[in-house]
């Protein structure tokens, strides 16, 4: 438990001091006025020159008590259109999977960069939702249209 707290406070400090351009990440504010280091809201900008550009996609990051032995859970809003995102918004990404590539040394910065990378390079072998996966593998123009629509929706995302 103490390791979890120590590490999260450290992650917050490192993020404040230095984080990649266009991203934001902040622990949520509890009703008692403190910041809950176990639940963060973050924004992932789509990479320039991709379908995802000009938008910031919100994610929610939840850290378990056993962090950093166990990875955090990362979620887009429910219904997010992406082949590797579950209908609930949960992301299927190997670095967030305890049985695959998660290591305790992976930082918040690496996680959000990993999610950004995933946006435009979906993994067709690990489908998590039907609509986006089907369109991506069988009807590319429909897929691109949907992704652009979604980008428009998040174009003016609040990045405070």
């Amino acid at each position: 438990m103490s390791l979890c707290n120590t590490r999260l406070q450290e992650e917050r400090k490192q993020w404040r001091k230095d984080h990649p351009f266009g991203f934001y990440a902040k622990p949520v504010k509890d009703s008692d006025g403190s910041l809950n280091l176990k639940i963060w809201n973050a924004g992932i900008p789509g990479k320039a020159t991709t379908l995802w550009q000009d938008a910031v996609y919100p994610i929610n990051i939840t850290f378990p008590d056993e962090y950093p032995s166990k990875p955090p859970k990362v979620k887009f809003p429910a219904g997010f259109y992406h082949p590797n995102v579950y209908p609930s918004g949960t992301i299927c990404l190997s670095i967030l999977n305890e049985e695959q590539d998660w290591r305790p040394a992976i930082t918040l910065k690496q996680i959000v960069l990993g999610v950004q990378e995933l946006l435009d390079s979906p993994n067709p072998d690990s489908p998590a939702q039907e609509p986006a996966w089907k369109a991506f593998s069988k009807d590319r123009s429909l897929y691109e249209k949907k992704v652009r629509e979604q980008a428009k929706k998040y174009a003016n995302a609040d990045s405070s």
Partner: protein, 610 residues
């Protein structure tokens, strides 16, 4: 002959006298606790405090020998204290406390400071970590112990001299990624987890449909028709099924359940063909093949004996029968109005049967081995086998090794425990031939341990008047003045991962300490240096009387340790089984227990796996 003649001879009269006048704490009065208390009482400890929050249940009685059937539902700590009176020949003073050891109100740091030595007899990580932390705060020696089945260990902990409980990462219960559970199970435990945590939970447990509802909401927001429909479908099917528990007849509910869960959902998965490129495709359940046979089974009441055949691996037909029967009971219970929801409980036959049958049906669909109800109960109920003999042996070691501490005069050594590093040992027992008992000298604290090495800790004694009158800003400045942080150069969290201040989060600076939620006796403040020059600081809050002087622990913070990037990656589970030299005892040589623990030369070296 006096009752203590032999004890004096064995322990030496100096050690024995110290033990007689000592005050010790035993945390936990369960499997190990019962055995250990017997040992401690017969060793003659002067005063023994016992803490446990639990009450006695039937399943305790096979090994917790101080309890009787008439004790069921009574407090464990109070009951053990009474039970040992019948052989309390040396008149140990027994003081039981019924409560949670982590409760800072009932057990504040001042209470802890009365003990010379602490024995753990716990069964969970959280409480162990708490006791470990209190012992680190007070620099009190701690004897840690634990058993699983035939395996067990003791670990003496001498704060800041030997490894503490947190120095080695502990294995925590495995969690499985959603992807595996929902789409691509590959082992029985995946299907059991699915049956218990997903299917059963969604159908019968307290309706936490927030996730489903939020999917609904989003669907309302998006302007894409297809997506909307698909989402609504996914979200609503389970809700519909849940509703049909109440609104529909048992036959209809069962049929809908079987069709949706074991056919439609599987067929939907099959549509995603890339999932099955390198995996064997699941076979949706063809219910029609079983329907008439199932009807025959149901028609004959004698067949209810299937439900209690715990060690047989049921056939698909039998699984369907059990699913039908248990589903019916659960449906009846919900509809009777007595229970609005039902939680999974391994000892609730209906819930267990439902989970076993649905886990097995899913397993057979995915070509995974099916299991007996007995086996699934172990897995679904997280049952860890507990064996009285293992507990007795480990308690013996705990008591024996704990008495080592009283060989020396505590007043002389104070908190300098270095002399114990040469002979105190951690002991492991196991059932493996030639490795029944192994032991190892204590290791030094892990230099990357967040509890032992990377911080200083102490008690912040703050007067009631300051808590009322002063603000968080005042506390920040006091910390800066006392420990030489740079102006605004620190961050503070309080209790469980709640950040209350850093330079970019100064909302609370003007807030009075008394108005900061959780700023109270027994809570912990955790302070980090923003410039990464000073080590971390942990302060235990003790609120002292009105008008007393507020004091902070007097020490200088050490420079923060730096580790190369790749080094940091080492602090992971792999370290658990680092190489250590240990003694292995050959069981062919019949040695006395004392010899085993104390004797020096290593016969063989082996890797110790915790």
């Amino acid at each position: 002959m006096a009752k203590d003649t032999y004890l004096k001879k064995v322990l030496g009269s100096e050690r024995y006298n110290r033990i007689r006048s000592s005050k010790v704490l035993m945390v936990g009065a369960g499997g190990i606790g019962c055995e250990l208390l017997k040992d401690l009482v017969l060793t003659g400890y002067g005063q023994i405090h016992i803490v446990d929050l639990d009450t006695i249940t039937l399943s305790n009685l096979n090994r917790q020998f101080l309890f009787r059937k008439t004790d069921i539902d009574k407090s464990k700590s109070l009951t053990v204290a009474n039970a040992v009176q019948s052989f309390n020949y040396l008149n140990s003073n027994l003081i039981p406390h019924h409560g949670n050891i982590m409760d800072g109100n009932q057990f504040p740091i001042q209470w802890w400071s009365q003990f010379d030595f602490i024995f753990n007899a716990l069964d969970n990580l959280e409480a162990r970590r708490h006791v470990n932390k209190m012992c680190l705060f007070l620099k009190r020696p701690l004897m840690e112990s634990g058993t699983t089945g035939f395996e067990g260990q003791i670990q003496p902990i001498f704060p800041y001299h030997s490894e503490c409980f947190d120095c080695q990462a502990k294995e925590t219960p495995k969690t499985f990624p959603v992807c595996t559970i929902r789409s691509t199970p590959s082992s029985p435990v995946h299907c059991i987890t699915w049956a218990k945590e997903f299917l059963f939970y969604q159908l019968f447990d307290e309706a936490d449909s927030t996730e489903l509802n939020s999917a609904d909401k989003i669907a309302g927001e998006t302007d894409d028709k297809d997506q909307q429909e698909n989402l609504a479908k996914e979200a609503n099917e389970l809700i519909e099924l849940r509703n049909s528990i109440i609104s529909k007849d048992k036959d209809v509910f069962f049929t809908e359940l079987v069709f949706k869960i074991f056919k439609t959902d599987i067929e939907r998965l099959l549509l995603i063909d890339t999932l099955w490129k390198s995996r064997q495709k699941p076979n949706p359940l063809q219910f029609s093949e079983y329907e008439s046979e199932l009807d025959n089974l149901i028609a004959d009441d004698k067949n209810t004996s299937i439900l209690t055949d715990d060690t047989k691996v049921w056939t698909i037909l039998e699984d369907l029968y059990v699913l039908r029967k248990s589903g019916e009971s659960l449906q009846k219970r919900i509809n009777s109005g007595d229970e609005s929801s039902i939680s999974f409980d391994k000892d609730d036959e209906d819930t267990l049967n439902f989970v076993v049958a649905s886990a097995n049906l899913r397993s057979s669909i995915f070509h995974i081995e099916t299991k007996s109800k007995f086996d699934i109960k172990q897995i679904a109920g997280n049952i860890i086998p507990a064996i009285a003999t293992t507990n007795a042996i480990i308690s013996g070691f705990s008591c024996l090794s704990g008495s080592d501490y009283f060989k020396v005069d505590a007043k002389k050594i104070g908190t300098d425990f270095s002399s114990f590093m040469n002979h105190s040992r951690t002991v492991y027992i196991s059932i493996r031939p030639n490795k029944y008992i192994t032991s190892a000298l204590l290791s030094e604290p892990n230099e990357k341990c967040a509890s032992s090495s990377l911080l200083s800790r102490g008690v912040l004694r703050i007067s009631k008047s300051d808590v009322k009158a002063q603000t968080l800003g005042w506390l920040v400045n006091t910390l800066i003045d006392t420990y030489d942080y740079e102006e605004e150069g620190l961050s503070i969290s309080l209790g469980q991962s709640r950040l209350i201040y850093d330079v970019d989060f100064d909302d609370n600076l003007g807030t009075k300490l008394i108005d900061i939620n959780g700023f109270k006796d027994g809570e912990l403040l955790f302070i980090q240096d923003d410039n990464d020059e000073l080590e971390n600081l942990e302060l235990y809050i003790t609120i002292t009387g009105e008008g007393t002087l507020t004091t902070l622990p007097e020490f200088k913070l050490r420079p923060k340790k730096e580790f190369a990037e790749e080094d940091e990656e080492d602090y992971s589970m792999e370290e658990v089984d680092g190489n250590r030299d240990t003694i292995i005892i050959d069981d062919e040589e019949e040695k006395a227990i004392d010899d085993i623990v104390i004797e020096e030369p290593a016969l063989k070296k082996r890797k110790v796996v915790e």
